[in-house]
Subunit: 263 residues, 2 copies
């Protein structure tokens, strides 16, 4: 599992202020921390950027890539901001992302073709809701892949996000079990080794005791890894969560074990 930091987000008030003030300091400090903690890519989530989308995303990408060579995920629903980010990115870049929502098919998916970029596809109904069962989840994966191919995209540009649900949701537990099967079955379903991504922080969103939240994450990460998940998007500043992700990777990908190399 490749570890992507979800820390650079507008929901962090210090980051929201830095974006608003166009102040690179707090952004770059956070990126340093994430890279030091072991992040292998950085998700840049500035929200919808209703004001000055192009200027803000250009600033953000420039601020990050001036101090960090990691791949960047451009995580906004604003196509103008996305395009601005794509234009100035020097680091490898992943568009995060599209879904069957008509606006995203029309305005976001084509940017992946135009800029020859990787793109994440969310398994959601066209109205943005999480699929109700395993059959719908599979059908949406096939529909999404169909739309992706209609745009003339190469298979190796696609990354599927089956969308981890909060445990507290009414069907969250069932949905999260469904995505474990789906991640395992997707390569057979699509006929090629499609990459997958999952956002872990979603699992425990909402109120709840932090010790139990960490345990739930640390338990679900090995399950996702074992199902074959390619990318884990998570808070890389939680040391125990990160150690679990690294140990998962080691158990699943290393042939010779060593306690010295173990996290």
């Amino acid at each position: 599992m490749i570890l992507i930091a979800d820390n650079l987000t507008v929901t962090n008030s210090a980051i929201a202020k830095a974006i608003s003030d166009m102040d690179p300091g707090p952004i770059q400090d956070l990126v340093f921390q994430c890279e030091r903690a072991g992040a292998e890519a950085i998700d840049i989530n500035p929200g919808p950027l209703t004001k000055d989308p192009e200027e803000k995303m250009t600033f953000l990408v420039a601020a990050v890539q001036s101090v960090c060579g990691l791949p960047l995920l451009l995580d906004t629903i604003n196509p103008k901001a996305l395009e601005a980010g794509l234009r100035v990115s020097l680091n490898p870049v992943i568009i995060n992302g599209f879904s069957l929502e008509p606006k995203k098919l029309e305005f976001i998916l084509p940017l992946a073709k135009q800029y020859d970029a990787d793109i994440i596809g969310y398994l959601l109904y066209p109205n943005g809701h999480v699929p109700a069962g395993e059959d719908d989840l599979t059908q949406i994966a096939l529909d999404l892949y169909g739309e992706f191919k209609k745009k003339g995209m190469d298979d190796n540009r696609l990354i599927i996000d089956p969308v981890v649900a909060p445990l507290m949701w009414e069907n969250g537990m069932r949905h999260n079990r469904n995505i474990l099967s789906l991640i395992q079955n997707l390569p057979d379903l699509f006929g090629f080794p499609v990459r997958t991504i999952a956002g872990l922080s979603n699992l425990t969103s909402g109120p709840g005791p932090s010790g139990k939240k960490r345990l739930a994450e640390q338990t679900f990460i090995p399950m996702l890894a074992s199902a074959g998940l390619t990318y884990g998007l998570l808070n890389v500043l939680l040391p125990e969560t990160l150690r679990t992700a690294r140990m998962s990777h080691m158990l699943l990908n290393t042939d010779v074990f060593s306690w010295v190399a173990a996290p």
Copy 2:
């Protein structure tokens, strides 16, 4: 995953002494601790019992079941000790276990038929070694099931132990990945929902830093659980390991999540 305590073992010197002295106190204290910690069954491992096998196993089973109503695993290679234990068991009982080793097929497997007991079958070569690759592991599972059926046993009496390897073994990492697939595939391979068991303590046996050992266990348990493992045999007095096993069970088997009920 149903949690079985591996704590009542002759490798614990206090237990070795209690067996030797026929002193039920330390045995019953340990059983209390295991049950309080959340054990759902107790493995009784007195070693090969070369001296007074029947008397010792009778004493052990009586000592445990006089204070505890949990299912008991009778874990010895000594058929005389096993039979003595089977004769006096009032609690549900599981024979632990047989393999393709000729002596075990001849002297242990028939006890399961005779006493209408569950029995664990180890996936090992007839010489007791761990199979070298995935094909051998699958073939041994089929051979073992064949021997089991030859004795006229019912499918629902069988529990397969694919034998977790220490991480430090030369092929330990590959083997442990192979058993994850095997556990998942066994129901299709055998054509019925066969139960499975894995001994976790084996994973980290040998020297190594205890923090990293715990992390390795806590990472491998959700993988085993997600593959469909029925029983986890482990040190139930490691609170974090046990919490992980319980959270695994909750994520995989519960439809409505609650932080209050979560471990």
